[in-house]
């Protein structure tokens, strides 16, 4: 795609400026902190993935023969807790967001670099506690740790897991706080709100949810821990308390939390689609404000997780209606991405393959979300594999696809090296096939009535075929995830050096070196153009390409 420029001496950049372990562990450079996060979340991703594989292996046969029932409960609980709180929530914001937010707006760093480093240490402390909790027995309540099971009955390590999530939550809050202040106060001259890349808008909306949602799960965890230790009765019906209150408080965070996981991915997809169809995003302001709308509506739909928990019919009706409403801004995004593709000059590079995967899978995940928001169907498919499949279409098919697409798109900027394009396209294909093979059968299983969280379905052996397909798919998916990790690591040493702007993409992050210098730009950038000015980038012949002597 471009010619590597041979360099006599390597330019000083954020990677080669300093060496040694302390230059990493005490760094306040947002780019280095992003890499610290990248390594840590990859570690937790593979732990969570390991639990997922064990779950799938158990379900290969109808009988509960691989693990015992208690172990199975712990497997899906730890899979959920690790993946949600230690991979998906920090995934894009803490890695790509950390790396790109200051660069995209032309700042030298985030507003609070030391708080940024603190957030990584909080994440690591929370993660270490979670690992300790896993290794010494784990938790068996499901990642939702519903009261009163979690407060009065289970004898597993609820309090320790709670503290781990509490601490990791503060890491998430601090990331959000840093982003909001940075986006408000650190923009380069000329970088107005309507010139911001939509990646920034998506992260702004994400940060709002992180800031307003996470404290509520924090206090919920405090109350669960207090209830468990002292039997206060706040969630205990025997003492006059209300377990539904727990569910309300829990989902008040945990529903918006799925938007923490998907919105950054939408931001990534927007950047990729604009670049690889060489067009300005269709309806920039609609896409920008749909992110904010998702953040706002996302706070008003939580009780759709509780339709069968005994809430009043009127409240269920309102929450059902609002859940439909949150589909509108999501649909606006999908339509506008599609409209951007229309008459675009489309390039099928690896990031774009992930973007296409995202478009299709997110649409399926979103539409099945509407099935679940409908009160009648919800009663039928509640607590079945239909819910599991829907959730994974959004989280794995959406969020993880976006994350991988973004990693490929910005890898040349992050590492200064090109990844092998052929392998990357192959991996994208494997992930897409493996994903659908794993999770599509689960829609069918759920609709046929297979409940989730059962380790033994020997009374219904007819479910085995679809379960075998799903397990087979999960191994394919696992290979699809290992491949990028392998060639990214390979490219760091053997990859061809990347130019500053290998995709000829718009955006300030491409106007600096690859990898960037420590303070991102040699001179403070001044923005005089609109976002996604691909028509300008592509149509006029660049002046420096005109031979000099003519």
């Amino acid at each position: 795609m471009q010619i590597a420029i041979p360099q006599t001496a390597e330019r000083e950049n954020y990677l080669n400026k300093e060496y040694g372990i302390w230059s990493w562990l005490l760094t306040t450079d947002h780019k280095r902190i992003a890499l610290l996060y990248l390594v840590s979340i990859t570690f937790f991703f593979f732990i969570g993935g390991f639990f997922a594989l064990l779950i799938r292996l158990e379900l290969l046969t109808p009988a509960g023969d691989l693990v015992q029932a208690d172990t199975y409960n712990k497997l899906f609980t730890m899979h959920g807790m690790v993946m949600v709180f230690f991979f998906l929530i920090p995934s894009i914001p803490a890695t790509l967001g950390n790396f790109l937010v200051p660069m995209m707006i032309g700042a030298k760093d985030l507003a609070f670099p030391r708080i940024n480093l603190l957030s990584w240490y909080l994440y690591i402390i929370g993660g270490a506690l979670m690992l300790h909790c896993i290794l010494t027995g784990g938790v068996d309540t499901g990642w939702t740790f519903y009261a009163p099971f979690s407060t009065n009955f289970t004898n597993t390590k609820i309090v320790e897991a709670g503290i781990a999530i509490f601490i990791a939550g503060f890491s998430s809050i601090l990331t959000g706080l840093n982003f909001v202040v940075t986006i408000h106060r650190m923009r380069a001259p000329g970088m107005t709100w309507s010139r911001l890349p939509l990646f920034i808008w998506a992260h702004y909306a994400t940060s709002i949810i992180q800031l307003l949602g996470t404290p509520v799960i924090a206090i919920t965890i405090v109350l669960v821990a207090a209830e468990r230790a002292l039997h206060l009765g706040i969630f205990d019906p025997k003492l006059g308390g209300d377990p539904l209150l727990f569910q309300h408080l829990f989902w008040f965070y945990s529903h918006p939390a799925v938007y923490i996981m998907i919105l950054p991915s939408m931001g990534v997809i927007t950047e990729i689609i604009a670049c690889f169809s060489r067009k300005r995003i269709f309806g920039y302001h609609f896409v920008a404000f749909s992110s904010i709308a998702i953040a706002v509506f996302g706070f008003l739909v939580w009780a759709h997780h509780m339709f069968v928990a005994g809430i009043s019919v009127y409240s269920a009706l309102v929450f059902s209606f609002l859940s439909y409403a949150v589909a509108l801004p999501s649909a606006i995004k999908v339509f506008n991405w599609t409209a951007t593709l229309y008459k675009g000059s489309i390039h099928y590079d690896a990031p774009m393959l992930y973007a296409f995967g995202f478009l299709g899978l997110f649409t399926i995940g979103g539409l099945t979300g509407l099935f679940l928001a409908a009160l009648g169907i919800n009663v039928h498919v509640t607590d079945t594999y239909f819910v599991v499949a829907h959730f994974h279409y959004i989280m794995v098919g959406g969020a993880v696809m976006g994350y991988l697409g973004g990693m490929h798109f910005w890898w040349p900027k992050i590492s200064g090296k090109l990844y092998p394009e052929g392998w990357a396209r192959l991996a994208a294909l494997i992930v897409f096939i493996g994903f659908n093979l794993t999770f599509f059968p689960q829609f069918v299983l759920g609709y046929m009535g297979m409940p989730r969280r059962y380790y033994d379905y020997s009374h219904m052996p007819e479910f085995q075929v679809l379960n075998v397909l799903s397990t087979a798919g999960s191994t394919v998916l696992g290979i699809g995830y290992l491949l990028p990790m392998a060639y990214f690591l390979w490219s760091m040493r053997y990859g061809k050096p990347a130019s500053d702007n290998p995709w000829n993409a718009a955006g300030l992050e491409w106007k600096t070196a690859s990898p960037p210098p420590t303070f991102n730009f040699d001179q403070e950038p001044v923005v005089t153009w609109e976002a996604y000015n691909y028509e300008e980038l592509d149509t006029p012949p660049k002046p420096q390409e005109v031979p000099v002597g003519r």
Binding site: P113, L212, I219
Partner: protein
Amino acid sequence: MGLHQEEEHHPELLHHFAEAEQQRDAASLGMWVFLATEVMFFGGMFCAYLIYRHWYFGDFAAASKSIDAKLGGTNTAVLICSSLTVVLAVWAAQTARKTLLIAMLAITMLLGLAFLGIKGKEYKDKFEEHHVPGASFSFEHVPIPGHAGEYANPRHAQIFFSLYFVMTGIHALHMIVGLGIFSWLFAMAWKGRFTPEYNTPVEISGLYWHFVDIIWIYLFPLLYLIDRHP
């Protein structure tokens, strides 16, 4: 790049900010955003409180009557005074009155300690009256105010006391954190680090202190003054 060309570079201006004003604005916005998260943190407890107060109003009123409104009222006055001294401290920092700044920070901390002392006395009373939730909790035959012959349900009263201890406990924890921050401010002020050009830490720590006061302004009537009659 990397070279500091500017000659007059304030020592407190961090490298990634263009000018002092940007740094101050960022710090101030950061604190406001943090306080928004604090509102949500306390919000969960206020939500639980409102639901149970609505359900078990009589029991809550009876339990509320057992805590000492005079001590609570005194504490309210103590905190309001401390808010005044914080404002004066910020003003002193902005107008280069070092002695006044140090004095006001000291008085603020003393008022904070007084608050915690009075709170400790209240907790001790509750402990002695067996009103701390748990195995030794007891709240038998306490009449519901305004309903002759009716007694509070001890279980529901225990929920009141649970919320009372969690809410005031987390508030007290915020006071302790505030005292830590103010001790640091005090040390910095003693060294003369705050000037009219650079006093952001005083200002944003002041915001935090006011916030913790405001939480108490809500806690006091909600917990101490349910259905009280002279």
